[in-house]
């Protein structure tokens, strides 16, 4: 009887331990998930306020500006449909280029400027982060529809 009690106690302690561990893990997990949004999603207010997230898209050509003193840079990220200005203080990764894909992690300010704490590096020249490729693909569809409607409108107007 005694050994059975003991075994029960062990099992109980084990289960409690497991429960505590699971709770701890899931809590840490939930508070540290970082979501990815495209610039269109940010414009549609899908991104969280006051919480860190990842923003991805292309660095717009000619948008990169450096402050004269210090290491702060400004650039514009776009998915070809919506543009979001980004500021970052620090050293940009080697493969950061205008016209290329980028992923920045940080928070969206109330002024609509995205303050990045981290600009993620690519490891390969040809490589495009899949999130960015996906976002561009979606924006392309949106662009096509819009140009399609404007063409249709134009045609309708010409017919009048």
């Amino acid at each position: 009887m005694k050994s059975r009690h003991k075994r029960l106690a062990i099992v109980a302690v084990g289960l409690i331990g497991l429960g505590v561990a699971t709770t701890l893990v899931l809590r840490a997990f939930n508070s540290n998930l970082v979501f990815f949004f495209s610039t269109s999603q940010v414009a549609a207010k899908e991104s969280p306020q006051g919480r860190s997230f990842r923003l991805g898209g292309l660095v717009e050509e000619g948008s990169l500006k450096r402050e004269d003193n210090g290491l702060t840079v400004h650039f514009v990220v776009t998915d070809t449909a919506v543009k979001i200005p980004v500021t970052f203080t620090g050293i940009l990764p080697d493969l950061f280029r205008e016209g290329q894909g980028v992923v920045a992690q940080g928070k969206l300010g109330s002024d609509g400027v995205f303050k990045a704490d981290e600009v993620l590096a690519k490891h390969d020249e040809k490589y495009m982060p899949p999130e960015v490729a996906d976002a561009l693909e979606k924006a392309k569809v949106v662009n096509k529809q819009m140009s399609g409607t404007s063409l249709a409108n134009g045609a309708a107007e010409a017919a009048k």
Binding site: A28, F29, L33, L71, E125, Y127, E131
Partner: protein, 667 residues
């Protein structure tokens, strides 16, 4: 011609592997001795064919044979020779070939070093390894053949990714694969034992040294990867919780649990089922690692190409191996029996807790690695799980684990008493506590987390000393030399634990006292970091055959004395036109000074990173000490199978003497 020979050898290897998977297994099931005896020569033949194929690929790289597609994609005539050899596994196809080379190499080693093992067991082990190898050879030949020709041949190769052009490439992947793949032997032994229904101390004794060697290589492989990332990726961290790092870390955690559980099975006959399950889990995690890295689902330094058919193939392999072995486990394990009983407070219990904690750690890593992939696959948003999650989870899981590391080796098997342990370890605890409270003050500033980390490290060290002293005294009491009378497996265990302590010191002090500074520097500007003054003396151009570099000059000054000049570089590789940051690091026992160039800002000024990393080399030093401990334990004489019967008699005598002495000491 040579690539065709390689291709042909690979096909032959697949045919041989299929025979290896069938004949010995069927032979052992039917008791056909001739078929069982075929296992060894077949395994050696398979190794020969795979090695030939691999040699052909190396030859194609050395001679820059750009009529081979894989070579043309990963090499260049200007690539230095050592990187041309490293480039063999610098891409997907070649690294899979390396994987199989390792697998057949391990099988070959089993066939050579296990002369004394029963024929039916060896036949099963080799048969199972043959099954795994069949899967992977088919994978290479069907989806990732490195010998495919390029017609017409390219005039020049596309060159190796500049990130990989480093000595790290020559050592890190082979070491890592040795470890990863090495767990297949432990797996094969476990499955063979399940098939044969014979799980006993002898089985644990046979599979332990193999597991230890694999673990040793994996430890070194991971440490080398970490060093490489530290100096090459240019932002000075040593671990990024990158999914691919996690992929190698999960088998390490499970493998660490496995070597401890095997120890219990060997010494006490307990934990048998658990050990088998761990062997299956460890190898499955190795396969998951391969799947993650090779299928292209991950985005990282290691993910080369994405071809969906590859991912599906490895996924199927994983399902067959893991599912099949789990089913076998469920079917056969109840027959195996539980083994020795033990009390709530005993070394067995401590080791069980160690196993559970290690698996919890592995599970948390698995969750953090797979969850984003699952979310993405279900189209529920794109997320990532960063270092904060892992750091938050790892500290509470590792703290009790490391505390138990102090208790486990001191506690007695079967039944220990807590008051007795407390008495024996009170000095160890007191000394650790006091030094952990004082040491951070000596470093300049007191942080509670630093104190806690150091407490754990000192605790492991002092309890190891207490354990060693007890052994020495006991040996002297029975009239044997103190230190020399200890088994290598015991010394190896203490050395490995000491390595963990060194590792913790490194991690704690780096996290507590590192200084990272990104600054804009004009020529002649100085900046102060942790008592060192760094002066930027401008840049100059240098040229090497395959890249041009802008080299910076950073003078390090301390107390008015010019100590050294650091030469960080910004390289531009000719073929891939890819810029690369090459950090300059001054390595020291107590600190690293790290400088790397950012980008030219304006008028000769550069953005520069200056880091001060105290005790960072202890992190890797600790890992190599751990690996050394594994090597020592593996070389214990009771595992030397050549003189097994003799050694067994001896070690039995030693065990008996030790039990007598323990009982005598207690009375």
């Amino acid at each position: 011609m040579i690539p065709e020979i390689g291709h042909f050898s690979l096909i032959l290897a697949l045919s041989v592997a299929m025979v290896q998977a069938v004949l010995p297994l069927v032979g052992s099931a039917r008791g056909n001795e001739n078929w069982m005896r075929m296992a060894r020569p077949i395994a050696q033949g398979q190794f020969l064919f795979v090695a030939t194929a691999f040699a052909c690929l190396v030859y194609a790289f050395i001679t820059s044979d750009f009529s081979v597609l894989y070579v043309a994609e990963h090499a260049n005539t200007e690539l230095p020779l050592q990187y041309r050899v490293g480039a063999v596994w610098g891409g997907h196809e070649g690294s899979m070939l390396l994987w199989v080379l390792m697998l057949t190499g391990w099988t070959m080693a089993v066939s050579v070093f296990s002369r004394k093992l029963p024929d039916d067991l060896i036949a099963r082990v080799i048969g199972i390894l043959g099954l795994v190898s069949t899967g992977f050879l088919a994978f290479i030949l069907l989806t990732s053949n490195p010998f495919i020709r390029l017609m017409p041949a390219a005039l020049e190769g596309r060159d190796l990714n500049p990130l990989l052009q480093d000595t790290g490439l020559v050592f890190h992947p082979p070491m890592l694969y040795m470890g990863y793949v090495g767990f297949s032997v432990a797996f094969a032994f476990a499955i063979a034992a399940l098939l044969g229904g014979r799980l006993d101390a002898a089985w644990a004794r046979w599979s332990r040294p193999w597991t230890l060697v694999a673990w040793m290589f994996l430890t070194m492989g991971i440490a080398m990867g970490s060093v490489w990332a530290y100096y090459e990726l240019g932002w000075g961290g040593w671990w990024f919780w990158d999914p691919v790092e996690n992929a190698s870390f999960m088998p390490w955690l499970a493998g660490t649990a496995l070597i401890h559980s095997l120890a219990v099975t060997e010494k006490r006959g307990s934990f048998k089922n658990w050990t088998v399950l761990l062997a299956i889990i460890t190898f499955s995690l190795s396969l998951i690692g391969t799947l993650l890295v090779r299928s292209g689902v991950l985005t990282s330094v290691h993910a080369f190409a994405s071809d969906p058919s590859r991912g599906v193939f490895i996924l199927i392999l994983l399902v067959i191996v893991t599912g099949g072995s789990m089913a076998l486990f469920a079917w056969r394990a109840p027959r195996v029996g539980l083994g020795g009983r033990f009390a709530l407070v005993s070394r067995e219990s401590f080791l069980l807790a160690n196993n559970v904690l290690l698996l919890v750690a592995a599970a948390t890593v698995l969750l953090g690695t797979l969850y984003p992939l699952i979310m993405d696959a279900l189209d529920m948003g794109k997320i990532s799980v960063g270092p904060p999650y892992f750091n938050k989870v790892f500290v509470p899981v590792m703290t009790p684990l490391i505390f138990l590391m102090g208790l486990g080796p001191i506690a007695r098997w079967k039944q220990a008493s807590l008051p007795d342990l407390a008495v024996r370890l009170r000095w160890a605890f007191g000394v650790s506590l006091v030094s952990a409270l004082i040491a951070p003050v000596l470093m300049g500033e007191w942080f509670p987390l630093v104190s806690m980390g150091l407490l754990l490290a000192f605790w492991v060290m002092t309890t190891a000393v207490v354990g060693l002293m007890r052994r020495v005294r006991r040996n002297q009491e029975i009239g044997r030399p103190g230190l020399a009378g200890m088994t290598r497996s015991y010394i190896g265990m203490q050395v490995a634990h000491f390595g963990v302590a060194v590792f913790i010191v490194g991690v704690t002090l780096v996290n507590g006292y590192q200084v990272e500074k990104d600054v804009r520097m004009n020529v002649g500007d100085t900046t102060e970091v942790a008592g060192y003054t760094f002066r930027f003396d401008g840049v100059a151009q240098t040229k090497v055959p395959n890249y041009t570099a802008t080299q910076g000059y950073v003078q390090v000054i301390r107390d008015g004395v010019e100590l050294m000049v650091l030469h960080p570089q910004k390289r531009n590789y000719n073929v891939q036109t890819m810029p690369m940051t090459e950090a300059a690091i001054d390595t020291g026992l107590t600190r690293d000074l790290y400088a790397s160039l950012g980008e030219p800002v304006s008028g000769g000024a550069w953005s520069v990173r200056i880091y001060y990393k105290p005790f960072i080399d202890w992190i890797w030093g600790g890992c190599f000490i751990m690996a050394l401990g594994g090597g020592l334990a593996m070389s214990d004489r009771r595992y030397r199978l050549a003189s097994r019967s003799k050694a067994k008699a001896q070690s039995d005598a030693v065990d008996a003497a030790r039990n007598l002495a323990t009982e005598g000491g207690r009375a």
